[in-house]
Amino acid sequence: MRKDAGGDDMGFEPEIVAFLCNWCAYAGADMAGTSRLKYPANVVPIKVMCSGRVDPEFVLEAFEKGADGVFIGGCHPGDCHYVNGNIRTRRRVEMLKKLLEQMGINPRRLRLEWVSATEGAKFARVIKEFVEEIKELGPSPLRRK
């Protein structure tokens, strides 16, 4: 079972929300599956049509509810199914990171990655990296005990 915040990090299993865009990142995650590429199960996906749908309020809410990390996956710049939703997301994330820093939350807990429908391997890799990074950062101070 999960350890409480401050509990020894050996047993610490991060809880991470992942917002995946329908056309690239979500398909990329499927591709990771069809290629049977193992990655940690700490990340639970929420499918949205476009990464541009991800309202900064969702991200802050996830942290408020105690998420140890938030992941956003979108199409590569230029490939957005909706022209430039991913670019708007990139700008929102850039601003959010600065906000998180001021709030005292490590901005590394928020990660944006471009994953195309064919990049199953990349999806598995970045999730693995992210989970490791969060483990290293330890539990979010806002975690519900």
């Binding site: 809410e61 990139r90 700008r91 929102r92 600065k98 950062l137």
Partner: protein
């Protein structure tokens, strides 16, 4: 039958009380239909008097100011107990207002800034208030580790937004409350009544930000000028006083009904309005905002950080 009214002033600037005096003659007229049973600022009553009152004996209690000391909290609970309708009056009570910015720092930081690292304060003995005075052993009440808002402590029936509530807002609110209504005020954002409403271009594209002291104002929609204006994420009702004075809205009315996180809502809008530019320029432009909390949460930091600054040791 006169309505029994109470007004208490917590950790705030007093502007809310002045705003109530601010309705001037109207206040004198009101004295016919209301009876002020508790208003430490303008009349002379003790807290004991309040404790003695039977529960729910006050018709409408206004609490203004934030909750900074345990005393504030006690009074809030007492007022809740004694009144039928408890109203959060003004930005401090509703969302912490400017002084909520204190939640970005620890009590220790504040003491250091005021008493120890202050150029006009030599203070060689490194004295900090509250530490015991050998001679007299006077004690000071404790300064809570972080600032709270009224709804953190008790249930609130109605809110009168603004820092402080402006005449039109106040007039409507008082009339509604005296006739027993707890729902009143506008439910759209400021742009709806903005004096510069008609100067909005079809599409707004921001290529760089200007701070309002940096640019000769051309009288058009501030966002269209690249000047951050909180209007779109701020409740209407004030009539856009600041904008009429050529200063962009800073958000003191708090968010419109469906928005819980005023800052995030505006941050998202601003990020979305940036024009075509490469990633490098993008970073630079965003960097130029400098102070996210101070810009987007000027009046709602206490809501963003209800338990004070997060301590992410990592």
């Amino acid at each position: 039958m006169k309505k029994k009214i109470a007004m208490y002033w917590g950790a705030g600037c007093g502007g809310c009380d002045v705003s109530l005096l601010g309705i001037h003659e109207k206040l004198l007229e009101l004295l016919d239909d209301i009876e002020i049973v508790f208003w430490p600022c303008a009349t002379d009553f003790k807290y004991e008097d309040l404790e003695k009152m039977p529960d729910k004996s006050i018709d409408i209690a206004f609490y203004n100011g934030a909750i900074r000391t345990s005393e504030n909290e006690e009074i809030a609970k007492l007022l809740r107990k004694k009144s039928k309708i408890l109203v959060a009056y003004g930005s401090c009570a509703i969302e912490g207002c400017i002084i909520g910015l204190a939640n970005l720092y620890d009590r220790e930081d504040i003491f250091r800034a005021v008493y120890l690292e202050n150029e006009t304060t030599p203070n060689k003995e490194k004295i900090v208030p509250g530490s015991r005075d050998k001679e007299e052993e006077l004690e000071l009440p404790e300064f809570l580790p972080h600032l709270k808002v009224l709804s953190d402590v008790v249930e609130v029936d109605a809110v009168i937004p603004g820092c402080p509530p402006t005449k039109p807002v106040l007039a409507e609110a008082l009339e509604a409350l005296l006739s027993g209504k707890t729902e009143f005020g506008k439910s759209v954002a400021l742009c709806d009544e903005c004096p510069r409403k008609d100067t909005k271009p079809e599409k707004i594209e921001i290529d760089r930000f200007y701070r309002w002291h940096e640019k000769q104002d051309d009288g058009k929609c501030f966002l269209a000028q690249g000047i951050i204006c909180m209007g779109p994420a701020t409740l209407a009702g004030c009539g856009g006083e600041c904008i009429a004075a050529n200063i962009p809205c800073t958000g003191c009315m708090g968010p419109p009904p469906k928005v819980r996180n005023q800052g995030a809502a505006m941050l998202s809008a601003i990020a979305s309005l940036l024009g075509e530019m490469d990633e490098e320029k993008e970073k630079e432009v965003i960097e130029s905002i400098r102070d996210m909390v101070g810009t987007f949460y000027k009046y709602t930091t206490a809501k963003l950080l209800p338990k004070g600054r997060v301590k992410d040791e990592s």
